[in-house]
Symmetry: C3
Subunit: 473 residues, 3 copies
Amino acid sequence: MTANKPITLHQDRYFSPNPEERKIARRLFQLVKDLPLVCPHGHVDPRLFAENQPFPDPTELLVIPDHYLFRMLYSQGIPMESLGVPRMDGGETEKDRRKIWQTVADHLYLFRATPTGAWLKHELHDVLGITKRFTGATAMEIYDQITETLARPENLPRALFERFNIEALSTTDAPTDTLEFHRQIRESGWNGRILPAFRPDNVTDFMYRNWRGNIDRLTEVSGIDCTNYHGFILALEKQRQFFKSMGATSTDHGVLTPFTVELTENEAARLFDKAIRGQATAEDATMFTGHVIMEMAGMSIEDGLTMQIHPGVFRNHNEVVFEKFGLDKGCDIPMATDYVKNMKPLLNRYGNDTRLNLIVFTIDETTYSRELAPLAGHYPAMKLGPAWWFHDSREGMLRYRQMTTETAGIYNTVGFNDDTRAFPSIPARHDVARRIDCRFLAGLVAEHVIDMDEAEEMIVDLAYNLAKKNYRL
Amino acid sequence: MTANKPITLHQDRYFSPNPEERKIARRLFQLVKDLPLVCPHGHVDPRLFAENQPFPDPTELLVIPDHYLFRMLYSQGIPMESLGVPRMDGGETEKDRRKIWQTVADHLYLFRATPTGAWLKHELHDVLGITKRFTGATAMEIYDQITETLARPENLPRALFERFNIEALSTTDAPTDTLEFHRQIRESGWNGRILPAFRPDNVTDFMYRNWRGNIDRLTEVSGIDCTNYHGFILALEKQRQFFKSMGATSTDHGVLTPFTVELTENEAARLFDKAIRGQATAEDATMFTGHVIMEMAGMSIEDGLTMQIHPGVFRNHNEVVFEKFGLDKGCDIPMATDYVKNMKPLLNRYGNDTRLNLIVFTIDETTYSRELAPLAGHYPAMKLGPAWWFHDSREGMLRYRQMTTETAGIYNTVGFNDDTRAFPSIPARHDVARRIDCRFLAGLVAEHVIDMDEAEEMIVDLAYNLAKKNYRL
Amino acid sequence: MTANKPITLHQDRYFSPNPEERKIARRLFQLVKDLPLVCPHGHVDPRLFAENQPFPDPTELLVIPDHYLFRMLYSQGIPMESLGVPRMDGGETEKDRRKIWQTVADHLYLFRATPTGAWLKHELHDVLGITKRFTGATAMEIYDQITETLARPENLPRALFERFNIEALSTTDAPTDTLEFHRQIRESGWNGRILPAFRPDNVTDFMYRNWRGNIDRLTEVSGIDCTNYHGFILALEKQRQFFKSMGATSTDHGVLTPFTVELTENEAARLFDKAIRGQATAEDATMFTGHVIMEMAGMSIEDGLTMQIHPGVFRNHNEVVFEKFGLDKGCDIPMATDYVKNMKPLLNRYGNDTRLNLIVFTIDETTYSRELAPLAGHYPAMKLGPAWWFHDSREGMLRYRQMTTETAGIYNTVGFNDDTRAFPSIPARHDVARRIDCRFLAGLVAEHVIDMDEAEEMIVDLAYNLAKKNYRL
């Protein structure tokens, strides 16, 4: 069994074990390890910083909200109820936080060689000051230690934000959101930069849960009657302005496929009316979403918000789990995605416009070198989002660089996004990304593909400048 | 030209050439190199062990049954007839075993850097004691030496089984099989563990060669009238019980796609009746197979047999070769496969049931990180089969680990399967798999992703425990 | 900023940084670095060698015709007009060659770690003798130096051809081409081997620009009335003979997918007549092209021309750029391609015929190990083209070897093609290919997969013999 020995985060972790490459990677890492973290895309709850209350216990902090963590435990037969994941029907779930913590500790071996395992190790060690290895034997002791740690003022959310050296953190928000917490933060006098991002899926996709209710809510928050297409578009424009006034620099669009289509205003209005009457089909929803994406690109050209598209995930694949536990419970599964045909209308209409900054994410690695790098390596408006989700890991990020750089270069990519709802994991995630980029560049230097002075510029661009520039932060 | 120098199997073969990783890999390999071989999925003929006769000549042992070998030779224009592969029409083929052996030796350069080349080298050296390099010049001398070796009692099949240190070997058998050889082995008093596996494709797929005849044969062996759906299902259940009584721990399902669908009993019965009347269409066959896979999952929950699904291979792509030489002659070609949509019905119905042990194989590498690891990393019932067929090779197995581990961990995989009909290649195949896993883990240790004590546990799990556990051996 | 330091082409570039592998790679590279260049597939203009005029200025030589170069610059918002790319409407474009050269120099950082960057560096250093780093600061000085260099007799096209040590260079030519420049070269007494290749897309694809005009042109050059199917086929046969008489050893077929189909002569004639009447649909074009590919394979069996198929590229994806600047302006985008079903008719009819030499290119890497290597590792007629286009790069070529060799071996591949229209980049491209093959083989030697004497044979085969053999040069 894994001995009860101290946790160490080795200074050379994730670098190549080849001494020459390792030496170069170390030098490059020195240039970026202390740079501020730019977090232009994520899902941290702004309420954290508005209220600035102490984090509750370790289980609430690290286990219950982390679907990476309970997904893996569930895959090995551990019921989500026993991990305290709340049920939609309010049914029984484990309430004993210590017991849940113990269950995680007992199964920690499942996370060997996974990013979740690496992030957790980093959080325990660097954020929470745990120096013992987290095992079944040490679980309770560590639980107590973290509980004590969390109570201290230097571990309140705002203090951590500052300690993490975060320059800007974007949340992701519905267009119907009044951004109350963002407003509270601003008004509090605290100058941590927490920005909203405009994600209108809940009103642009007819098939979204409670679409009709969301439209009414949009009417309410915008003060514009959204039960007709014209009003709907005006309201979106108005809400974008509102988000922008609250600091937003980007929009975000989660779609099944990156399908785009150019409808006439009449066609779009007809589909919208059908949806208002409750008669829209799945096909109508697809067409309308494909059209609205185009409209959004047009608006981005006007108002300068960077536009993000996230396609290719089959959401809520496990209906049993979805019905019991709801959204984001680990059953979103990537699928094959075509960008070449789907994005042609959008790219043909707006892709040559240098005012548009369109960031396309991918979760289907097979498109990196085949479709995405060639598209981003041609269209002025298009950039590639980082290695996303199941790929925001050592191997995943390395493959991303290997498969996109030769065709698109690094300057058609946008640096790193942590894309997390787990606030304490942010430094860990940036640490992995920066180390992998150092590793990648060190390989290129050692193989005499680039010179050291080039690598020194590139690593700063990858770790810091590209994200700032592309998200206009 | 390749000099006539001795074969050596280097002790560090397949390990990283980086000294630090190599050193770690060596240490890990020490832990597993002498562990028994667990062979839960393969195609070795049980008759070998029932009869325990000496292997005939080297050509019959190593060339004629090995479609990996003659596939490559054929691809370079060497007629299969000249390699002694029997023709369906009984036409002329080369009978001179020495001449065939010489042809192989003369073209051995074609196998450089291929797994076939590596296995053959290992078999010659480690199993057959050949220390000269196999070349055109040494072919006849080696032929004679092997012939002599094969005649010795220590090289009879059962003796080799013991020398190979095989703990259990599963064959693959039709549901209509009476398992005569398995019975003979049991009754012989020899305690080598040779188990059947239940592969019902020949009765579940209406399009299978001689499906109607197979149904009659199923009626005969089960004693249940299988010309109606109800009887068919009862007979399958009965035959599963029979296989289980003969030691089976698993079923196996070869399908074009992993399509699954839930039909009502009436719908299924209607399709079955249509097939009995000889009127089933290809579409009917697809629907019925998709339904029977679901039924089989249900039965596995009842009787505890591990369920294997092997999709994604276009069988008998070369009709000219198929008509002349029949099945398994090297013209099965992998194709793109979707698991996300196809397996949703099955996974939604049974995937959350921890009693089911569903092993999904893949031959389309592009699905490793996109679909398979995310699915296996969520559904409790699903595990990933090993790098299969065209990928049971150094590079193939390494990519498998690199692309599945971060999302699914190693504990949602099931260790190694040799999946071979070539009995003497079994040690070679396990050797490659164990070495590649050592190499993979050594990299993780050297990059400070996992600790050495973790790697030491993981390598034993990968080489031995996971296969035993997941096949319930 | 990148310092103004000398360019160096490191002797070990692209080799593994692991000292053991590097040492082996060096030894292997010694065997091939001075071998003649075999260039069996490319797009260099034969007029260069017919006229043998000095290259004009550096911009004309290195920038304007290189769509790799201006594609990347365009993707970062630099208008193609400002790079001197000619407009279809004759509109204004930058005429000042020095200014264009400066723009490129100022943005050279975009090409870091890209093949374009590597080729350019090699061309400047090895072909043009530039020893200063190409930067914004040195741009004018280097411009002048190159201008002077180009004027010297030793840098005329024929002299460079000889200095590059090119053994044979194939162009790519329409079937309607009279091969005037090839003829001039022959008649000039210069014995550089410049060969045509027969690429009939402009008459076999009804949807090709000006198809009807091309048919008339085919009638004209062949002297056979091509307005009926029978005449069309006869003319193709005649033109193939003509090309062969001019030295051609291959045909080339650019297709959207590798779809093949066997039509009756009547069906084919009916489609052709429809097209002549201007009534062919896209579907008709697909069917006809799929049929003609089959006919071409049949002709290749007769006349011995090696047949190349290049599928999988969506041409002219950016209609705005296409309309403004025309073909080959960087907006061709690869797409997912199926070979298994599409090529079955052709492979079943002709794939077992050892007289056919069918080279299939791929640009969809996901098919390397899944489809292409298994097909090439079985069918005697089929070979794999090299890592093509977006993949003719360090990482791209390495992945190609890693994903094709285990299943197909190296002897079902055909060596390297530079596939370029940029004549001065030819040595750079072969240099990268040879180095990557050395690197790949060095890894295999260091990992004890192959022996050094095997690697020594293989590297010569990869760098020289395979291309000569498979293109029958």
